[in-house]
Symmetry: C2
Subunit: 294 residues, 2 copies
């Protein structure tokens, strides 16, 4: 009789047990296949470093079409072969590439692209962050990108960790895209609307963020110091299918992302005592994963 | 006559030339001696790494007095000799130290410090940031620290780049201070009010941020992998005067800091096309410098 009573009570006991509190990682793992979008191979720029390290960058043609077209031309012409990372400034940027106007023109690149620092916000269906932002009228997510919206009806990409932008000289120079940088520290949002952001690192950021910091002003390496030569940069679409990296980002309009965003604002798993109730744009980190089964 | 006319015009021409637009670095260099506060040697924790690298941490006894007292005891007893950095997670933390309850007690440390995650905001004269914050009712600066203020009348330190906190297990454990971490990526403000922040790195953060990332889950190093052994950690006050590091921070109640903060919100030197009009707390970076003439 006792045993039966215990058995009878079991389902009730199970129901009463507090549900395991989920972490953002739990939510990402549980997201259904429909919540993921595959990144086109033409939008993946693959940097190979000496020793085999790989940095994969997702390009953002919707925000900087002329710069991205230049970058695709550079990649196709093997423009970056033998380039190097020449600047690593702590809590700021790792920067690399080649700035040779003549060579850029010879591969068909546009020498003076327009200032693709903002675009019209019209037609962009934004998933709002729902927390205040110090830099813009509002911020949110569009097609997997963290973006900012301004009073004048424009929208910009944002300098979150891993964002990739185009090195340039002083205004009104915009850079060709031959020199690029990645953010390796706290978001430098003051650069938003002042520089062309062309994408973000989706894999291998540690190949850049763990490089030795430059000893010279602004983190430049001393003349002759080479931390890690770049073997080349190519589009994933130009690689043999077996060598192509393939990634997906979480659809920022999906129910899975809404749940993920809510949890980023309200971490409540066992480690947390107080949930913040808000989050800043660059601390959300849109989930990216290798395409399953490849 | 011509020459005279030109000479006569010169002062006017000089007056009409646009003044050089200052960068934050220009402002910091121009700040008078009165705008700087020297950090007490008892508040500087010096980590020496194999090979001679040095990380200097400013302690925050006003926010975590029991944890800081523990840390001073650990430093005095050479508790950390032979410890190592055992975790480096990209865009998150570098973590190091020793967690041995018995040894901690033997040096007189408090085994279970209170949860010094917040303190009363009463009496803290805050220089407000003046930009919205997603995590707290308001944020600003107190005695050189970026702090957050909450609806319930409490204040906390904030997890900006370089912040140093106390590693702990799950709630209600608070850690002894024997294991520490430094933020090496975008600010992880969700940790504010959930962990004891005991200070910040004022020099040598690149000794931690450029370490190889750990290959295991959460950035832990593989068993047996040692990136950089810790020779020891000691208070600056325990070092011979000639070897003592000495640093100053900019008084966050000074007119110099007010100008600096304004410029952090409105970068307008030649590189910038649009000034943001705001800034987030962790992108302000309270200026710190080696004490001049030492």
């Amino acid at each position: 009789m006792r045993n039966l009573a215990i058995l009878a009570l079991l389902p009730f006991a199970l129901a009463a047990a507090p549900p395991k509190k989920l972490t953002p990682t739990d939510l990402v793992s549980a997201a259904p296949a429909a919540a993921w979008r595959t990144i086109a191979a033409e939008d993946l720029l693959v940097m190979t470093l000496e020793g085999g390290g790989r940095v994969v960058i997702q390009l953002a043609p919707a925000f900087a079409p002329v710069h991205v077209a230049n970058i695709r031309k550079f990649a196709g012409a093997n423009y970056w072969q033998g380039a190097a990372v020449y600047r690593v400034q702590d809590n700021y940027v790792a920067q690399w590439g080649i700035n040779e106007a003549k060579r850029a023109l010879s591969v068909g690149a546009v020498a003076n692209p327009p200032a693709e620092y903002v675009r019209s916000a019209r037609g962009l269906a934004i998933t709002p962050l729902g927390s205040p932002d110090p830099y813009a009228r509002s911020v949110g997510f569009w097609s997997g990108w963290p973006v900012a919206l301004y009073k004048d009806g424009t929208a910009s990409m944002t300098h979150c960790y891993g964002a990739v932008g185009v090195g340039r000289d002083l205004h009104p120079d915009t850079g060709t895209g031959g020199e690029l940088y990645a953010i390796i520290g706290h978001a430098t949002r003051q650069l938003d609307r002042n520089i062309a952001v062309v994408g973000r690192v989706v894999s291998g950021i540690e190949q850049l963020s763990a490089l030795p910091r430059g000893s010279e002003a602004m983190g430049f390496y001393k003349e002759g110091f080479v931390a890690k030569p770049i073997v080349g940069m190519t589009l994933a679409s130009a690689l043999p299918p077996a060598q192509r990296p393939a990634f997906q980002y979480m659809d920022t309009a999906s129910a899975s992302f809404a749940r993920y965003l809510r949890l980023r604002k309200n971490r409540n798993d066992d480690f947390y005592r107080v949930a913040a109730g808000g989050v800043d744009l660059c601390n959300v980190q849109v989930p990216v994963r290798p395409t399953p089964g490849r």
